[in-house]
């Protein structure tokens, strides 16, 4: 009988398992006998039969599991720092390079576009070389792109360098993949969710870090147009330091053996073409791709424009604008997990319908506060509305990944990847439409972006699960269609089902009955399915 923990390594999309943060349980640990502990292994944390940790001990650096967690999220954090490092210094850079608003906007679009492609490549790199080298390669090869800022002397050069630095955001994939080799799948949700949120904080930390570094360099005697170039050496050095730490302190697997990883790739793989097909033909995939573009996407866009906005609109000093902008990104520490938690609480009472309503409410409120932010004429009001906007948007990100695991079991990895790409695409689009033109001010751009958020969140009303219903409609009355099994089995052909390839989907369907909310107890055993003898 296949142990759920061995599944996945090498399978298409397996690197994205757990990225959702909401898979099945939101637990800090997995108790035996649910997953038996391997008592022969000598690790600091209790491990399962594959030597993956069963416990998530946040403030430990125990090798290899927790050390991997910290190396991983800090690497991702570093890449966020360097991708958005230019944003708080734009008031200086725009004078040095004689940029127009269009130039600044284009560079912002470029900074988030590169990673749409690099994230796709990164999955393959992790499969080939392992996540440790995947992470180290990316972070150390993108260090030269950060140092390139010292050469930039025109708008074109500035845009090109920001585009290249943006490739480094693919460390997201290596981060999640690496942790799925180190943590048991029952707690991988929390682990990956925490890492994603903390990594995103880098977009906030950089708004604080770069102006401070700039001021220090200025006080040391450099002119403004040289000081900002020197300031870029800090993220560059962070790349090199993290790359070396990952290479020296990290290891691919709990047992430290890269070769074994490649042997495990012999596990029966699912066909990539089939997995892709079921991902792209599921209409819900595309609705969530759009929605994530207006939660994560607007978060990234705001990271790029907010410091300059406060500097210009309220005549603040550079580091004051940076502090305010930083609080936007740093809210990720709590806001994103809060969204996931809210989704889980709603599911307990109202099932999947509760999750959908939670997402719609959080994201629409984020949009409303964004409208308010653009219209706020005084500094205290603007800061207040910005903080509420950040909570709404980031909680919506967390809530989105509360629903994604249930859209598909077979194609979860690809759907998660597509959703993530949708985030970057949404960011590029909003920056292009609202913040790259002089026809209206940045304040108006923010308000219009808020309107677009509210409008693009409406499609979530169309997401309907036959077994659970949608925001406005109850589940299907059809006795067969209203079962979880029929939904998840629909992703397999009869031929595949006859070979019993769909066993994991059946197990998942049983476990997903919790998405009926309070009706779980009354759920009838569907025909043609033998009742399970206890959950794994």
């Amino acid at each position: 009988m296949a142990d759920r923990t061995t599944e996945g390594l090498g399978e298409p999309g397996s690197s994205m398992h757990g990225v959702t943060g909401r898979e099945q349980s939101f637990a800090f640990s997995v108790a035996s006998p649910m997953v038996p502990t391997d008592t022969t292994a000598k690790f600091d944390l209790p491990v399962d039969s594959e030597h993956k940790a069963k416990v998530f001990k946040l403030f430990s650096m125990a090798n290899p599991h927790m050390r991997t967690f910290h190396l991983s999220w800090i690497s991702f954090f570093t890449c966020f720092v360097s991708t958005f490092a230019a944003a708080p210094l734009v008031p200086i850079i725009r004078d040095n390079l004689n940029l127009t608003k269009v130039d600044i906007g284009n560079a912002g679009v470029a900074s988030v576009s590169g990673s749409i492609f690099s994230r796709l490549v990164m999955g393959a790199v992790c499969d080939l070389l392992g996540p440790r080298y995947g992470c180290a390669f990316l972070i150390m090869l993108s260090a030269p792109t950060v140092f390139c800022m010292s050469f930039v002397s025109s708008a074109g050069g500035y845009t090109a360098v920001r585009f290249m630095i943006g490739f480094s955001l693919a460390t997201f994939v290596s981060c999640q993949y690496w942790m799925s080799t180190m943590f048991n799948s029952k707690i991988i949700g929390l682990v990956n969710g925490t890492a994603a949120g903390w990594g995103n904080m880098g977009g906030g930390a950089t708004q604080l870090l770069m102006p401070v570094v700039y001021e220090v360099i200025r006080k040391a005697g450099a002119t403004p147009f040289t000081a900002w170039r020197i300031a870029f050496f800090i993220p560059g050095w962070l790349h090199i330091i993290m790359g070396i730490l990952v290479l020296t302190l990290g290891q691919d697997l709990p047992d430290g053996n890269l070769g074994a990883l490649q042997k495990k790739g012999d596990v029966a793989k699912d066909k990539f073409s089939k997995v892709l097909w079921y991902a792209i033909t599921n209409y819900r995939t595309w609705i969530f791709v759009l929605l994530y573009g207006y939660s994560m996407g607007v978060e990234l866009s705001t990271d790029n424009v907010i410091a300059e906005y406060f500097y210009d609109r309220f005549n603040l000093k550079l580091h004051t604008a940076g502090i305010i902008a930083a609080s936007f990104g740093m809210a990720n520490l709590l806001a994103r997990p809060f969204g996931g938690w809210a989704s889980d609480v709603a599911a307990r009472h109202f099932g999947m319908r509760g999750r959908l309503w939670t997402l719609w409410i959080l994201q629409t409120m984020g949009g409303a506060f964004c409208i308010w932010l653009g219209r706020a004429n005084t500094l205290p009001l603007a800061v207040f509305s910005m903080i509420l906007f950040s909570i709404g948007a980031q909680a919506a990100c967390g809530a989105t990944f509360g629903i994604i695991p249930f859209v598909s079991r077979r194609s979860l990895g690809i759907i998660s990847g597509l959703t993530g790409a949708g985030g970057n695409f949404g960011s590029g689009l909003t920056q292009l439409v609202f913040f790259s033109t002089s026809r209206f001010s940045t304040a108006t751009g923010l308000s219009l972006m808020g309107v677009m958020i509210c409008a693009c969140t409406l499609p979530v009303t169309l997401v309907h699960f036959p077994q659970w219903g949608s925001m406005f409609f109850p589940p299907s009355k059809d006795i067969v269609k209203s079962t979880e099994e029929s939904y998840y089995e629909a992703e397999w052909t009869e031929e595949e089902k006859s070979k019993n390839l769909h066993q994991n989907s059946i197990k998942f369907a049983e476990n997903s009955r919790s998405e009926r909310g309070r009706r779980v107890a009354s759920a009838p055993t569907p025909p043609n399915v033998t009742p399970s003898h206890g959950h794994v």
Partner: protein, 204 residues
Amino acid sequence: MAGLSGILLASLLILSCFAETSFGVVHFSSLKQTLTVTASPKPGQVLKAGDDKFTVTWGLNNSFPAGTDSAYKTIKLRLCYAPVSQVERAWRKTEDELSKDKTCQFNIVTKPYSASKQSFEWVVERDVPLGTYFVRAYAYNAANAEVAFGQTTDAGKTTNLFDIIAITGRHASLDIASVCFSAFSVVALIGFFWAEKRKGKSSK
């Protein structure tokens, strides 16, 4: 007694004239152009930031009646953007409300007001960006509010403009350091990779 109340009334009247200015909301359109300002660069001349210098000369326009300058206490000379340098750059926008106006972002000199013509030689500072400029002088009263101005160009800001070329901010030492660290990063990565591959092979 009558004299005292007369003085009190007069000062009340004078103070009330300054009431608007002392609240800080001064509009450019309310200022009188009573100063004449000239700058040494010829129209269209190109100056280099950090290297070149120019001279500004300013004083009261004598065609105005005597006593016009009774309130002027200090004069500030500023370098201002011409309209062509404000296109597509909302952070340099001209606003009538002076506290919001971003036309003149660089200070040339601040001097106490004197009725006679004064001049000052200024080295273009190294943080002045590429652009087309003119020079404007603001006269401030004792409450440090603007009361009058003068500028080297006409009302439409089309004549007597000069260009400034900024420094690049780049330095050879920075470029070299950048290349060195980049090379280190790539070489370190390749070195680690190769060393581990070798160890892997030799341990088999």
